[in-house]
């Protein structure tokens, strides 16, 4: 009986121990401190992050970096539980949301006190996007503008000249038409010239290329109902709906076009696809055909979007100096070299990115177009704090792609949803 009672006493004790979690940024024995780094859970990315950490710990023996991987919800839960990782990756669209909630430490002080650090080594327009209200809150880690990949063999077979920096919308459409082929007698298309994507990080670039804007400069009015935006959306939608040079909505739904249709490109069934440099990790396995990359066709002006992220330091870190040392390493020469070897788009650290795009004898021959595109690339204009409205507005474009709306209706409704939302928010501070 006594033993039973002792067992019963142990059970809650063990249960309590099971719920014990070590906190972030813990002090270790001696002078060594531990900081935490969070990143998206991905086998390849985890491997790269661990390699970066190992490199850092070799040169900074007094700092231990604990790596935590997960998704956005895990990061959110950690922050809400006051266990924010010391180093956090962020999408550029999330930055203002985190800054206005005082979750990120401004970096200007660290920068000012660090003679070794040169912000000029980073892509300047990327670094500029990391500023909110004049203060720097993050450093560009890895990112990539969107460019036009093309299958050289399909272009040669159709006797279409390869796209280059002079290619405009009409040339692009003409090429896509000539590269779209049906299977004889079946009435079905077996090879498309292009693949569209209604992902938020793709379609806005056509609006910009046509001289339009999604929002005004004060970010309190949506301009999607303006003629330039409507015309761009109509052109983009017509590629699949009217000209049939791109797969329809069903393909989008199955993920074929969800991120630009890279799977179909690898399979040799798409002649051109708008993709980032991250896609090259899968494109490098292509052996069946030759391929290259060109700038996106220019409309009235040159524009593209980019994906990728920045990294910042948690405002409540216990070890800001150590976190800064690691952030510098992660986004600087040491970390960038590892990221570039792992095919992570372009490093925000310019020398590493410029070195990575030079690889004679290995495709793509014109990899440098990504560096050039940094000058005219824009982040997705849809900020985290407006995501609910965006998701409802995006449905209008989805309905257009499915044939339930005209471009005029979709763009008008899109703008109206956002403008009603801004009307409700009137008076609240925003970026």
């Amino acid at each position: 009986m006594r033993r039973m009672a002792a067992c019963a006493g142990l059970v809650p004790l063990l249960a309590a121990l099971a719920f014990w979690f070590p906190g972030c940024g813990t002090g270790l024995s001696g002078d060594r401190v531990e900081i935490t780094m969070f990143d998206w859970d991905n086998i390849e990315l985890n491997r790269l992050n661990k390699e970066i950490i190992a490199g850092f710990e070799k040169t900074h023996p007094h700092i231990r970096v604990r790596f935590i991987s997960g998704d956005a919800r895990k990061r959110l839960a950690m922050i809400a539980a006051d266990m924010a990782p010391d180093i956090m990756p962020l999408e550029i669209e999330e930055l203002s949301f985190y800054v206005t909630r005082h979750l990120l430490a401004p970096l200007d002080e660290f920068m000012g006190a660090d003679a070794d650090f040169r912000l000029a080594d980073y892509f300047q327009n990327m670094a500029a996007m990391c500023r909110c209200s004049g203060k720097l809150y993050a450093l560009p880690e890895d990112f990539s503008p969107v460019a036009l990949y093309y299958n050289k063999d399909l272009f040669d077979a159709a006797q279409v000249p390869y796209p280059d920096e002079n290619c405009g919308w009409e040339d692009f459409l003409d090429a896509a038409k000539r590269l779209t082929r049906g299977r004889a007698g079946s009435g079905r298309i077996e090879q498309y010239g292009f693949v569209t994507s209604w992902w938020r990080n793709r379609w806005p670039m056509y609006v910009w290329q046509n001289g339009g804007e999604i929002f005004n400069a004060d970010y309190d009015r949506c301009l999607m109902d303006q003629p330039e935006a409507v015309e761009a959306i109509r052109f983009y939608n017509d590629l699949a709906a009217a000209h049939h040079v791109a797969p329809g909505w069903a393909a989008q739904l199955e993920g074929v076009g969800g991120q630009g249709g890279s799977q179909w490109f690898v399979a040799g069934r798409i002649a051109m696809t708008a993709e980032t440099r991250y896609a090259q990790t899968s494109f490098q396995r292509i052996t069946a055909f030759r391929w290259d990359v060109a700038p996106l066709p220019k409309g009235k002006r040159r524009a593209t979007t980019f994906v990728g992220g920045v990294a910042g330091i948690a405002a409540r870190t216990k070890y800001p100096r150590e976190a800064w040392e690691f952030l510098k390493f992660l986004t600087g020469e040491g970390g960038s070299a590892v990221l570039m070897r792992g095919g992570r788009g372009l490093a925000g650290y310019r020398p590493a990115a410029e070195k990575a795009v030079v690889h004679p004898g290995q495709p793509p021959e014109h990899d440098g177009v990504f560096i050039a595109a940094v000058e005219y690339c824009h982040p997705s204009p849809f900020l985290t704090e407006h995501m609910r409205t965006f998701d409802h507005a995006q449905e209008e474009l989805n309905l257009l792609a499915q044939g339930y709306r005209t471009a005029d209706q979709a763009c008008h409704n899109f703008a109206q949803l956002f403008n009603e939302h801004f009307e409700k928010l009137r008076g609240e501070p925003r970026r």
């Binding site: 039973m4 009672a5 067992c7 019963a8 249960a15 069903a250 199955e254 998701d391 989805n398 339930y404």
Partner: protein, 293 residues
């Protein structure tokens, strides 16, 4: 300490982890969500802003929410069909015929198959250009709809898929157990009295499986109100035009995608109230319609 007291103490010690787990991970979050439903909170800002009944007022005005409620109810239209299918199948399976164990396994397969695999498979079946469904329809000279792409057909498509998955599932097992619990003498007596197959089913089988029918119905309705998340998340992302977004998927989006925690909590409590009322109504009618031996 007396032996009896020590025994009582040990007993409390053993149930303490369970009670602590329930309090910590169920009761506390449920209570917190009720409190949260009166606040506007994005999880990261502090303190949350008190809005009183504002979230509930928004819910009443929210056109999207009305649409998603209708979607949820529509998706539940498959419940009586799948219940009927399960009962029919159970009656067939209850016959002493060779190979029934094999067929029981076959019909139960969708229940033990990973949901993700099933949804991906059905997404391909519903492909309007290359999918099996439209191919089959084309063989009969019918031009199939655009299924998951269509605001009209997306919900029926998911209902059909749901029926396929649930006819041979747990409901079938429950009905089989209920059928096997019926005293065969009742059927023999009815036969001697000249009752036909339909009369035997309607007068004996149906009343005696009614407690099982009631249980399946209640669980189906509760599950139906809470359902639709996985299909929306994996197959349709709630589209097209929100036509497959259910209340549970809307709660998830508000909480974790848009960080409107207070509004998500209000939606969850509204859903709870609806389920409670519908279950109470069911219980009320069950007194008259369900036959307990």
């Amino acid at each position: 300490m007396k032996a009896r007291s020590r025994e009582a103490l040990a007993g409390y010690g053993f149930i303490l982890p369970n009670c602590a787990g329930f309090m910590l991970f169920t009761l506390l979050p449920v209570g917190a969500s009720l409190l949260l439903s009166f606040y506007q909170w994005d999880l990261l800002s502090w303190p949350p802003k008190f809005v009183g009944l504002g979230n509930y007022a928004d819910l009443v005005r929210d056109e999207h929410f009305r649409q998603y409620c209708w979607n949820t109810v529509f998706m539940m239209s498959g419940i009586p069909i799948s219940m009927f299918g399960s009962l029919l199948l159970a009656v067939v399976m209850n016959q002493k015929l060779p190979g029934m164990t094999f067929f029981k396994t076959v019909y139960f397969l969708p229940s033990i198959t990973s949901g993700i695999a099933i949804y991906v498979l059905w997404a391909w079946i519903y492909n309007p250009d290359f999918g099996l469904m439209n191919w089959l329809l084309a063989q009969s000279g019918v031009e199939g709809p655009r299924w998951l792409e269509s605001t009209t057909w997306s919900k029926p498509a998911l209902v059909i898929m749901g029926i396929w998955g649930s006819v041979g599932g747990v409901d079938l097992v429950l009905y089989l157990a209920a059928l096997q619990g019926i005293d065969p003498q009742l059927y023999e007596a009815a036969e001697m009295d000249g009752a036909g197959a339909w009369q035997r089913f309607w007068k004996i089988t149906w009343p005696l499986v009614s407690p099982t029918t009631f249980f399946i119905l209640i669980m189906g309705i509760i599950g139906g109100f809470q359902g639709g998340f996985d299909t929306a998340y994996i197959m349709t992302h709630g589209g097209p035009a929100g036509s497959t977004t259910t209340v549970s998927y809307y709660i998830y989006n508000n909480a974790y995608e848009w960080l409107h925690m207070g509004y998500a909590a209000a939606l969850a409590w509204f859903l709870f109230l609806v389920i409670l009322i519908v279950t109470l109504v069911n219980w009320f009618f069950s007194q008259r319609l369900v036959h307990y031996e």
